[in-house]
């Protein structure tokens, strides 16, 4: 008569042999691709908190404090025309010292690169050729256009309010 212990060991080995399968490594050879949004897919509106937190982080490269977020959210909610609220908020930010944005000289050194970077920074996508050319021409033909103006236009745009 077999003892209990060898039977247990046999059962364990058998179950291991049955349950184990060989792992197959598959390599499809896919290249790394940077993925950007398209404007056609943006149909969810950012709420006030999302808009403010994303904008603040975008411009200062720091997270907004919960207290300031709460206050800003309430103020945004208290103004009927959100474009008025956004433009006021932006001009308030641009009047502060802790912004991390390119200088006007940097913008004018390579306008094309600036336009592409601005589309990626705010709209999380690449500009279409027509969009890129329009902005390059507009900035080059208007010497008074500053980074602040371009950033205000992007941050107050309808598209920036959606994701």
């Amino acid at each position: 008569m077999l003892s209990f212990k060898p039977l247990t060991i046999i059962a364990l080995i058998t179950s291991l042999l049955i349950s184990c399968t060989r792992e197959i490594n598959v390599d499809y050879g896919v290249n790394d691709v940077a993925i950007y949004e398209t404007k056609a897919q943006k149909h969810k509106a950012k709420n006030e908190a999302e808009y403010i937190a994303i904008l603040y982080t975008n411009l200062t490269q720091e997270a907004i404090s919960p207290n300031l977020l709460y206050q800003t959210q309430n103020v945004m909610y208290s103004i009927g025309d959100q474009n008025v609220a956004k433009e006021m908020l932006l001009s308030n930010y641009f009047n502060s010292q802790n912004l991390k944005i390119p200088s006007d000289v940097e913008m004018r050194l390579n306008v094309e690169q600036f336009v592409i970077a601005t589309y990626k920074r705010f709209l999380l996508r690449l500009p279409s050729e027509a969009e890129k050319q329009w902005f390059i021409r507009y900035i080059e033909n208007n010497s008074n256009v500053t980074v602040e103006m371009v950033y205000t236009a992007f941050a107050a745009s309808d598209e920036y309010g959606f994701y």
Binding site: V75, D81, N83, S96, Y138, N142, N144, V145, A153, E159
Partner: protein, 449 residues
């Protein structure tokens, strides 16, 4: 021959130009030619949504403590700016505090020369369509019954602002809504999300205790004043981006001003912060809290924009859920600030003698109290029963008849009458009534009399 041709061409072009000049101004935002159905009764309307649930008994009926706390001989009118009648002489607690005397023994003197009800049209017993605040406010601002109206969503039916902007061609800065707080979905009342009207026709809005309170100062008061030279490129670039994105109407989240209007509204906000710091904002002398702040900034809006339509809400009276004495004090002060507002309107040359003000509660309050006692051992009142569907309205100003309509036993009119009345004032009654969104039992108060 040649000169003949020239003359013919000249006459043809002149006729086209003249036709265009005559018709052009009357093409509405809706794309339709302007078709007014009646003459305008006044150039401006101010509507006060008063003031957070008001019992008939302590307001238009002037019964003070008699019908609420069973104190006999304590009847009297505590709203001297709106209604006629002598003040109570017994247990006066609603007035100003005099040092060394019991609280509230000194009633605030009347501001207007005679009670507004005696100067205009008062409906003494009006049927409200809801016993709740938000649906009640919706009723006042949309003229619909508010059936299936949810909280935290915009009105289902078009607001009076949308009717006026679409059918009367008013600009966004001609229409204003001022709320006294951001709670209770109040900031959603400046426009509906109705696809026939909606945000394209919505009103400008501020919640003054927030926009111009400490939060607003922290967040916005450091905003740069941009010159037109700086604004133009910003607006051009934004316009290009917006055209490229082509936002669908159903996804729109905000009302829109023109670039010029937006610049003006931003300048107004900045100037208001400056006036605040210089102590130049006019306040009702004995008002306090969010309601008084709301009315004070309504005054600033009236001065700057001379809006064709301005609506504001007051709500401090709602403290009646737990404090009846506080309710009496708030009611007395709400009356005071409405009197102040009417006098303020008369101080603006463009609006004096050319404005109609309409005051009406969004709902009433219960007949029977809840068990909560206040400092005077008086019982508080909620709003959920049939008595809470009893309200009144007062209208005063240009072309308003001096009449008192209906009484406790003879209700006349509905709260949904207010929007048709405003449509009637601006001469677009048929268009608004024909929109399909107005309560079928509603009609202009001018026609009810």
């Amino acid at each position: 021959m040649r000169s003949n041709m020239k003359r013919k061409e000249f006459i043809k072009k002149s006729a086209i130009t003249l036709g265009g000049a005559l018709v052009g101004p009357y093409i509405l935002p809706s794309g339709r030619l302007f078709a007014r159905t009646g003459a305008e009764k006044a150039a401006h309307v101010v509507m006060v949504m008063f003031a957070g649930g008001v019992r008939q008994q302590e307001s238009v009926l002037g019964r003070y403590l008699e019908d609420s706390q069973g104190v006999s001989g304590a009847a009297g009118n505590i709203m001297p700016n709106l209604f006629t009648g002598n003040a109570p002489t017994k247990k006066v607690v609603y007035g100003l505090d005099i040092p060394g005397e019991p609280k509230g023994t000194d009633p605030i003197p009347r501001i207007v020369s005679s009670p507004l009800a005696s100067q205009g049209l008062v409906f003494n017993e009006v049927t409200a369509q809801s016993a709740g605040h938000y649906v009640g406010l919706n009723t006042l601002i949309t003229g619909s019954r508010g059936i299936a109206q949810g909280l935290k969503v915009r009105p289902k039916s078009p607001t009076v602002f949308e009717y006026l902007r679409k059918h009367r061609g008013f600009a966004a800065t001609d229409c204003w809504f001022l709320g006294n707080g951001i709670g209770n979905s109040t900031p959603l009342l400046n426009s509906s999300d109705n696809l026939d009207y909606g945000l394209d026709y919505g009103a400008n809005m501020f919640i003054p205790p927030v926009t111009f309170g400490s939060f607003g100062r922290t967040v916005l008061s450091n905003a740069k004043p941009y010159s037109n030279l700086e604004l133009e490129p910003m607006y051009n670039m934004k316009s290009f981006l917006d055209q490229s994105f082509a936002l669908e109407k159903s996804l729109q989240t905000t009302i829109k001003n023109t670039d010029e209007e937006r610049t003006r509204v931003k300048a107004f906000i900045r100037n208001t912060y400056t006036k605040q710091s210089l102590g130049q904002i006019a306040y009702p002398p004995s008002g306090s809290g969010g309601d008084a702040v709301n009315v004070a900034y309504a005054g600033e809006i009236l001065k700057e924009f001379k809006p064709r339509m301005l609506a504001l809400n007051l709500s401090q009276v709602d403290g009646c859920h737990s404090n009846f004495t506080g309710y009496l004090r708030s009611l007395h002060r709400a009356d005071h600030i409405v009197g102040w507002l009417w006098e303020f309107i008369q101080s603006i040359p463009e609006m004096k003698d050319n404005t109609i003000m309409i005051v009406a509660p969004e709902c009433g309050r219960n007949l029977n109290p809840n068990p909560i006692l206040d400092e005077n051992d008086w019982l508080a009142f909620d709003h959920s029963d049939r008595n809470a569907m009893r309200v009144w309205s007062v209208m005063v100003g240009k072309n308003v008849p001096q009449l008192s309509v209906g009484d406790e036993d003879n209700p006349v009119g509905r709260l949904t009458d207010i929007v048709p009345t405003i449509a009637d004032i601006f001469g677009v009654y048929e268009e608004v009534m024909g929109s399909g969104y107005i309560d079928p039992l509603a009609m202009s108060q001018f026609l009810r009399v």
